[in-house]
């Protein structure tokens, strides 16, 4: 692999795919996320996975200098957006830091599930969420949708997949409502 391929500016196709994924999952645009994070550019680190980052102008210049003078490429930089998956239909699998920053800036406008304290604890242990743990939702959530899981204090806990249509409130409290995809407990279990 050429060194230049290790860390590079995102292509137009990648930027469009990231924007579309963000709008679909959270209701926020890439532009809004960039403003919230005070970043100006999307960078892709292509190793075994294709990881996307948002970087500031200062970080971008520094990266160019590092690559030029020392042939060094960052391991990680700025805001880690997530992994780009797929070839024909490229999409972003959002990261934990992205979820946290979206929650802090009130940019999670749809697909969010607010949980009670018991639900928070279980979710952070890597467990799925029952209907009974959900306090409220925002937006229309259908089975199979990617959702963000938050506490009632609007603290981001992780990402999940809706197992049922959540706008339909007629199910039993013990029904699994959200399958845990990744939660903040990952930092403890896998983060190193």
């Amino acid at each position: 692999m050429q060194a230049e391929e290790v860390m590079r500016k995102a292509s137009k196709v990648e930027v469009v795919a990231i924007d579309a994924s963000l709008r679909r999952i959270t209701g926020a645009s890439l532009r809004e996320v960039m403003e919230a994070a005070r970043k100006e550019c999307v960078i892709v680190r292509q190793m075994r996975r294709r990881e996307a980052f948002l970087v500031s102008r200062a970080e971008e210049l520094l990266m160019a200098e590092l690559a030029g003078k020392s042939r060094l490429y960052p391991y990680a930089v700025g805001l880690y957006l997530g992994v780009l998956r797929g070839s024909r239909r490229l999409k972003l699998v959002p990261s934990l830091p992205l979820g946290s920053i979206l929650a802090r800036h009130g940019l999670l406008r749809k697909g969010c599930v607010y949980v009670n304290e018991r639900g928070e604890k279980l979710f952070l242990y890597g467990r799925d969420l029952f209907i009974g743990s959900i306090v409220r939702t925002c937006g229309r959530i259908r089975r199979g949708d990617l959702v963000s899981v938050l506490t009632s204090r609007n603290e981001f806990l992780g990402w999940g997949i809706a197992s049922v249509d959540l706008h339909n409130g007629s199910r039993g409290r013990e029904t699994v409502a959200v399958r845990n995809l990744v939660d903040l407990g990952w930092y403890l279990r896998r983060g190193g």
Partner: protein, 346 residues
């Protein structure tokens, strides 16, 4: 004493250099041998502690190293107010007490369950950090918008503290050579919500082309760990004087590089979790005595805790400016053994 030791001693006495004096063969007193046996140390270590503190205080130090350290955390005020964090954790049965000299630090006096398993930890509201290890970032005093480097960054306690003090602005370049440790560094940066960190996995010497770029540089140097014996008792017997010599040479090399990379008018903080003068005052003194040393001065660390740096150890005199460096000890300050020194690039 074997033949090699006799030769080494002879060479030292006929024409001893400072290195020979500190790393050469050492006469071990009966008192040091007795204490070493009682507390399970290598005798040369205790001999040095007697030189450092005197016999009575050396034993106090050895006793303190047998007691566990009080745990401590650093509140991440970028994400949560520190009084709010205290209330949240105390609501769960933890007992916290502010560390007077660390603005974001708390002693953890009661820990009903693991500090690393609370939702507040996972949300990035605090970092589990030994108290003295909080000092280098405070001494560095990074400012909003600056370009700062952490030369040996993993696992990320000091990197995230610098990012926090910079209010998540500017850029912190965090360099780490270890493939396994860099994962933890990235994880802590993400967990604590910082987006102003650029992590590089490389030998820091590859940054030589970046002359005089960084406003501030932190070198928390790789060391023997002679200050963290209360945490890792295996270090009572795991390092010889020759291991210290290898460390010393690497530390001198890294400190010279840190000075090279720092902009004029900028600051360098050198720290270790070791109380060994060979890894601390001797390193700074050697660098001050070199060509690079002409471009720096020692300044007050301004951390409000710790003893002064040494001016003399085992017959070797150090630059008197080293009094401005700081030393912390378990028996005096209740922390791990620690050393830090702040330099200003002229």
């Amino acid at each position: 004493m074997n033949l090699a030791e006799i030769r080494s001693l002879h060479a030292m006495t006929s024409n001893p250099t400072r290195e020979d004096k500190l790393f050469g063969a050492m006469r071990i007193s009966q008192q040091a041998k007795r204490l070493a046996e009682r507390y399970g140390y290598l005798p040369y270590m205790v001999e040095r502690y007697i030189d450092l503190f005197g016999a009575k205080e050396a034993e106090e130090f050895l006793r303190a190293c047998n007691r566990p350290l009080v745990k401590s955390i650093r509140c991440n005020d970028y994400l949560v107010r520190c009084d709010e964090l205290k209330a949240l954790l105390e609501g769960k049965g933890f007992v916290l007490k502010e560390i007077g000299w660390a603005p974001h630090g708390f002693w953890v006096l009661n820990e009903p369950f693991s500090l690393g398993a609370t939702p507040e930890y996972l949300k990035g509201y605090y970092y589990i950090q030994r108290a003295a290890s909080m000092l280098p970032a405070y001494a560095l005093q990074p400012k909003v918008g600056e370009l700062v480097m952490d030369m040996t960054a993993a696992p990320g306690g000091k990197t995230t503290q610098i990012a926090q003090l910079m209010k998540n602005t500017g850029v912190v370049v965090a360099v780490e050579i270890s493939r396994s440790r860099i994962k933890a560094l990235r994880s802590h940066v993400n967990r604590m919500g910082f987006t102003n960190v650029l992590i590089i996995r490389a030998d820091v010497s590859r940054l030589r082309g970046f002359r005089e770029r960084f406003s501030r540089t932190l070198l928390d140097a790789p060391c023997s760990g002679e200050g963290i014996i209360p945490v890792d008792p295996s270090r009572k017997r795991s390092r010889t004087l020759q291991d210290l010599r290898v460390m010393y040479r690497r530390q001198v090399e890294l400190l010279k590089l840190a000075i090279e990379l720092t902009a004029r008018g900028g600051y360098i903080v050198y720290s270790t979790c070791s109380i060994a003068p060979e890894e601390n005052e001797l390193v700074i003194d050697t660098v001050l005595d070199s060509e690079v040393g002409e471009s720096v001065d020692v300044v007050e660390a301004g951390v409000g805790v710790g003893d002064s740096g040494l001016e003399e150890f085992r017959g070797v005199s150090f630059d008197e400016r080293l009094r401005k460096c700081r030393r912390l000890y378990p028996h005096k300050h209740g922390t791990e053994g620690f050393f830090l020194c702040k330099l200003r690039k002229l």
